[in-house]
Symmetry: C2
Subunit: 342 residues, 2 copies
DNA sequence: AGAGGTATATGAAACGTTTCATTGAATCGT
DNA sequence: ACGATTCAATGAAACGTTTCATATACCTCT
């Protein structure tokens, strides 16, 4: 183990006082050029590395923020993380990424540790909305927190989210405009706010087209938002009698949509001729599917970026801070999977 | 800002000495049950949270390890991260995830910060092999480091990697066994060791089939390992004259393979009938492609898990440690994209 | 030449823990 | 009953910074 060279040794080698070395590190302009050089040389020679623990201890707080995501293997969240990192980097703040894996207990342990580390703030998509949660304690003790994509019900926090009802409506209206009257919604579980919002949106679209008497919405609930669930749902739909079978399907996310696409193609159902598909999230693999997937695009990176800005704002404000709720509007990206060539 | 309640206040409220509180926290068995309860009550009442900076300062080191990945949005690396997290969790160690984004400068900044934080060890897939690198300094100062998937040329470190030459050979032999004689390799840049190894592997497979005189390998070099590069490469191949055009393609990773698949399908080239495809990595989206992709599977999670175990081992050993190089053998997963039904 | 400034450099205090040598009290064995 | 042993609790020292009030030297102006 490299015996830690400390500021004192540097001072001795450079022939200056301990405080001067600190000044070179933190306020170089206060030190004469000659001594500054001497100190920097000593630092280089000894390979001195600042001890952040001592620094933080003295300062009373760290220089890091944390982002706690539900699933680090989900492309949606990795993009959010990238946005947060970029925004933080511009301010010279480091981001620590924590993965709760949708496990409340693991989330709790992460928050324990983060609080012990006195992080300056936390971006989080919480696992649940338990009112008496670990998260609430963190907030009450004074750590700034911004909610990412799970804003509902937290009036007293900053949050960023996407208007999922609108996203659902865009998808629905697009399919109706394409001539579809029997539409299916595939997604779940319904305990997830985003899923019900998207469902609600497509429902509104169908109701809005009131003059079209025949319009009808089938809902296929899935246990998870995964490719496998999509495949199962597609199998279920393909087995329906031809008469009532939907001609279009709107999926709660792209993983499901990819599963649906895969299973339909396997069964010889042509997409979009026999069945159109619209997904949600517009992850990179949506465009890369063999039948490129239409999808409702969320500004994922922007989500992370804005959340970080709100957090840094709250941190800077030191108490005087008005919480804000930023809601983004999604876009519909039309690709081959729902584009009927005429 | 929550005025930090410290151990001293807890001691006062509980009517014990400062050292006793510390003992309750760290060696509860040394404290009588009565006082322990009194202290714990005081902690709960005050909402006391340990200050990790002070703890670390005293201890001289942290309780965290870090993993620095090339690209946090690449499914390959997120799986490696998950493996590392799981292994670390079992030992009560936290993992900090850092993303270099293939940017050497960003990698350097991360390492600076990690060293200041006195992390106990680092798992890293370095951006480059620069001999006089920041990484080497870190190592020389005594921080244990394990190289992930970039083992070559670092004899004096632990490393984990996958036998990419074998992976390439498996893919090549599979295609030859399927009757293919004109095979293309798509991938790049060749400066990446993994790419040249995989290329080398498929070349060996063709040479091994020496009796097959007609066997021939075309190499299409791409600038990146992305879906877009795959599409471009496929376009290039499709434009070749029918006579010399390959009947099978082996891609350096799955993203490229998905791009190739997409472009070929768009052009009406049937997969696998007209052209077979084998990818590399077996990411989740490989199986979910409309023509499920054959792929060389790497034990991604295992890679992260083993790397973490090696790192923890080195940390524990305190100097007396024999560096080890663990090389995994890849598997070929055969799916529809290379399976010619007869 | 002396008063008032302005740069620089200094050294001690403080941040909140953990550790460890001591002390004090209680229990044990003979 | 008394020394020996065990068990609990104590309090001061140390970890490596940053900060801040103070000291020193050097100018500048009248």
């Amino acid at each position: 183990m490299a015996t830690t060279t400390n500021i004192k040794e540097v001072a001795r080698l450079a022939g200056v006082s301990l405080g001067t070395v600190s000044n070179v590190l933190n306020q170089p302009e206060r030190v004469s050029e000659a001594t500054r050089k001497r100190v920097l040389d000593a630092i280089a020679e000894l390979g001195y590395v600042r001890n952040d623990s001592a620094r933080q201890l003295r300062a009373g707080r760290s220089r890091q923020i944390a982002i706690v995501v539900l699933d680090v293997t989900n492309p949606f969240f990795t993009d959010v993380v990238r946005g947060a990192e970029n925004a933080a980097e511009e301010q010279g703040v480091m981001v620590v990424v924590c993965n709760s894996g949708e496990d409340a207990d693991r989330e709790r342990r992460h928050l324990d540790l983060l609080e012990e580390q006195r992080v300056r703030g936390v971006l989080i998509t919480p696992v649940d909305d338990a009112p008496d949660s670990r998260l609430e304690k963190l907030i009450n003790r004074g750590t700034p927190v911004v909610l990412v994509d799970r804003g509902s019900g937290w009036r007293d926090r900053c949050s960023v989210a996407v208007n999922d009802v609108l996203g659902g409506r865009l998808a629905g209206e697009h399919l109706i405009a394409g001539g579809h009257r029997r539409i299916a919604f595939v997604g779940g579980p319904m305990s997830i706010q985003q899923v019900t919002d998207r469902h609600q949106g497509v429902k509104l679209a169908l109701e809005g087209a009131g003059d079209l008497e025949g319009a009808e919405l089938t809902t296929v609930t899935t246990p998870t938002l995964t490719v496998a669930s999509g495949r199962a749902a597609a199998a279920q739909m393909a087995d329906m009698p031809d008469a009532g079978r939907p001609t279009a399907v709107f999926c709660a996310n792209d993983l499901i949509a990819l599963g649906v696409l895969q299973e339909l193609t396997r069964r010889g159902v042509r997409v979009p001729a026999d069945m159109a598909i619209v997904g949600y999230d517009d992850i990179e693999f949506a465009a890369a599917a063999t039948v490129p997937l239409s999808s409702v695009r969320q500004p994922r990176e922007q989500l992370g970026r804005t959340a970080t800005q709100l957090l840094l704002e709250e941190i800077e404000s030191g108490g005087r801070h008005e919480h804000r709720h930023v809601v983004f509007q999604p876009d519909l990206v039309i690709r081959a999977s729902s584009h009927i060539e005429t």
